[in-house]
């Protein structure tokens, strides 16, 4: 294996991983505020991006070059769709099963609600976009950095040039989200709610509004992830569920509830997938199985992982 090929795998992996990281941050944010798993989160990623394309380009999207106005329109519609779907998913499939006043939750209810929401999103989208997979235009024009869209690497191997801006944009967005959570008033409210719901409520933090804001932020991150991910390859309506599994695996890998851990987990997972795909004995099958395997293995081996750093009293 040449150094160039290895370098290509690592760089592509980092780009993939940064997209997974954005999904994972949303997932982890939702968990820490509501103790609910966003089981439909991955479907939102694909749904947001495809909605943007669907509205602006039409029902038969092709990989055309978008003019600046339509590029902006795709981004705006996709982000709006991501935010709206995330808040809607909360209102319809999560909120009814939480009863904060009695401190009881309907576990089976929100688990079923979450997976159902994912199915509904996939199905609705599938009605509008019946083909198996679509090549969609890139509103960010990330391939236009070089004329061919790819870059030769020293030592052989070539790389899609878009991995650099994808990595850059994703990390900048993740960092901005981190700054927002740690510095802004609303972000601090979110952390207070995540830390202790009752104490936050006693301090006069509007609980419901804060939780809705967190879901909106998660939806926004999902939309950006979708816009970065979708143009890299042809995308299918059903791809979202596995992307959600990858995001969950990354979040668990970085300790659920920690946004920075989620970013790290996403990058590690992305690179590991690419390296596995590179190995001639193992191949792409193992790369695809990695995320769900990591999810299951981490939860089984480190059961306290979900709640590590926050001991919940038994009574």
């Amino acid at each position: 294996m040449s150094g160039g090929v290895l370098l290509q795998a690592v760089l592509s992996g980092l780009a993939d991983g940064s997209v997974i990281a954005l999904v994972a941050v949303g997932f982890t944010l939702v968990w820490s505020l509501t103790r609910v798993l966003a089981l439909a989160h991955g479907d939102l990623v694909v749904a947001a991006a495809l909605t943007g394309v669907l509205v602006v380009v039409g029902r038969t999207p092709v990989d055309i070059s978008l003019d600046p106005v339509r590029s902006v329109a795709v981004v705006v519609v996709a982000v709006a769709a991501g935010v709206a779907l995330s808040v809607l998913a909360y209102a319809v499939t999560v909120r009814p099963f939480l009863d904060r006043s009695q401190r009881a939750e309907d576990l089976l209810g929100w688990v079923a609600g979450g997976v159902t929401a994912g199915l509904v999103v996939r199905t609705a989208l599938g009605l509008a976009l019946p083909a198996a997979a679509y090549a969609v235009p890139d509103p960010f024009h990330l391939d236009a950095l070089t004329s061919s869209g790819s870059l030769g690497l020293p030592g052989g191997g070539s790389l899609q040039v878009r991995v650099f801006p994808v990595l850059g944009v994703a990390l900048v967005v993740a960092a901005a989200a981190d700054v927002f959570i740690t510095r802004s008033r609303l972000g601090r409210s979110m952390r207070a709610v995540a830390d202790d719901v009752d104490a936050a409520a006693l301090c006069g933090i509007p609980l419901e509004r804060t939780v809705v804001a967190a879901f909106a932020l998660a939806g926004l991150l999902a939309a950006v992830a979708g816009l970065l991910h979708a143009p890299a390859q042809s995308i299918a309506v059903d791809d979202g569920a596995l992307l959600g599994i990858s995001g969950a695996a990354a979040a668990v890998l970085g300790r659920l509830g920690s946004p920075r851990g989620a970013v790290a987990g996403g990058l590690v997972l992305g690179v590991a997938q690419q390296l596995l795909a590179l190995d001639s004995h193992l191949g792409p099958g193992w790369a695809a199985a990695l995320a769900p395997a990591v999810l299951v293995a981490v939860l089984a081996v480190r059961p306290g992982g979900l709640r590590a750093g926050r001991q919940v009293a038994v009574e």
Binding site: R35, V36, L37, L39, L107, L108, G109, V111, A112, G113, V115, T116, L119, V120, R122, T123, G126, L127, P130, A241, L242, I245, A248, A249, V252, P284, G285, A288, A289, P292, A293, L295, V296, L299, A300, P303, G304, L306, R307, V314, E315
Partner: protein, 584 residues
Amino acid sequence: MTSFAQDLYLLLAAYGLALPVSYAGLPVLSQGAFVAVGAFGTALLAAHGAPLGVAVLAATALAGVAGYVVGFAATRLAGASLALATWGLAWLAYVVLTKFPAVSGGSQGLLRPTPARLVSPSLGVVLTMQPWLHVVAAGVLCVVAALAVRRAAAGPWGLDWAALRTSPVLADSLGVPVQRRRRALLSAGAAIGALAGAGTGVLVGVVAPADYSPLLSLQLFVAVLVGGTATWWGPAIGVALLAALPSASDGVASAAGIDPLRAQGVLTAVLLIAALALRGPVGRRVPAVFERFLSARRSVVGLPSAPDVVPTHPAGVVLALTDVHVRYGAVQALDGVQLELRAGEVHALVGPNGSGKSTALRVAAGVVAPDSGDVRIRGAVAPVAGNAAPRVQAGVVRTLQRTAMLGELTAATQVAIGVRATEQDVAGQGWRHLFGTPLARRLERRRSGRALAALTRVGLSARSDVPAVSLDSAEQRLLQIARATATGATALLLDEPAAGMSQPQRVRLGEVLRSLARAGHGVLLVEHDMALVGRVADRVTVLAEGRVLASGAPDDVRADPEVQRAYLGDVTDPRHRREEQAPA
């Protein structure tokens, strides 16, 4: 005929999944994966020359083992993480099936050898599996599964299941082997799912990955939820709706001019939402009727003379803590505590907030392991701390501060869960009940007798058929005590049993505590109400900052100047002053 047999196999898989979901309250999203283990396992083994019957049994056993392994993770995972882990498992199975053609035969799937024959050389029987034979086999399996589950739920296992799905913590505190029950239910559910998968595979003749996607897990999960918690008919309704899907979606597809597969997705989604909305009303009403039916039947059986669960002990030490140290981070919660509880006495443990009372109680109950020191139960070294269940077997049980944790169950059922801890003398009770042996019926009579005795002791016998939520807060406290005594424990650890009680209720509680001591129990009482302590306690131990300040008869302890200074003197809460002045 073929599609009807297929639906019956689907129902069988749903009954399997109902065990962990409805009865243990575990969110298991991976039943489709277990079904796939059965289907592909059978096909692979048959392709490698194994006789069909052997292949089916081997694949089923394999899934059972897989379920048991998942059970080990489930014993340590909180509910939400189990949902995530099993959802991951469902996808892992699907990815493996789609990406590894060696396992699954690729998108074409695997073919079973034709014709499908069950051969038994020793009996000289050769059975060719026609579709009608599948209908018979699947139908019989479904009926057996439904009846067995329903019967088991009405017996000793059902009591354990009711406790652990309502509150695992409380179930543990009453001696229910929570982890063992969960593993058993997961394992049995997975094996039944695999059996259904094997049957489907043999019936259809080809197993392809697309039929075993996570959507199957999801459909089965919601089918089980339709009937709400713990019903034997819920899965049947859910699967009947699922079975109607393909033909209904074909109709919708041709009417709306869309892809039939997508139409099926739309209808599944609609069904799921409807099931979620319906399961509350449907699920609430029927179990209530069921519960009434059960308790009615119990009283028809006729109660034998209630035996006293507690053998009267000679006045010996039933529980002893020696030089116990516990540290939480920077806080030394217990700093060399000595404590002795004798049979037939009420021993009050008092002290200011944060003095270590509750920690001492938890060490005694085995839910907190001491950093150093010695805990002995009737002279023998106490079982390792962690789960409470072994302590309950050894005769030590505690009540929890929180009440109202077993809401919908009647008082009699709740106390019967406690009685289960006394039933270790007969092995295989769940099985005996399943087959209705005479011994099981005698045990059931003994159980209801003991439950009634425990309720009578706290004065709640007239309320035995009332759901716990309908009891007032004082009655709920008394029910907790009845539940604890029903375990046959010699040492009762009561954590603030008077909290939220009015003065007359406290008087009644005091009488109950005295009568428990008379019956031979050792009662360790953590309590703030000094008037109550003065009335009922034979001995008082005062804790302050993790140390024993004084121990002895109530009057002596009150007179101790050091106690007055540390505990009663400089307490700013005016409540304590009032209680101190109250006549003892």
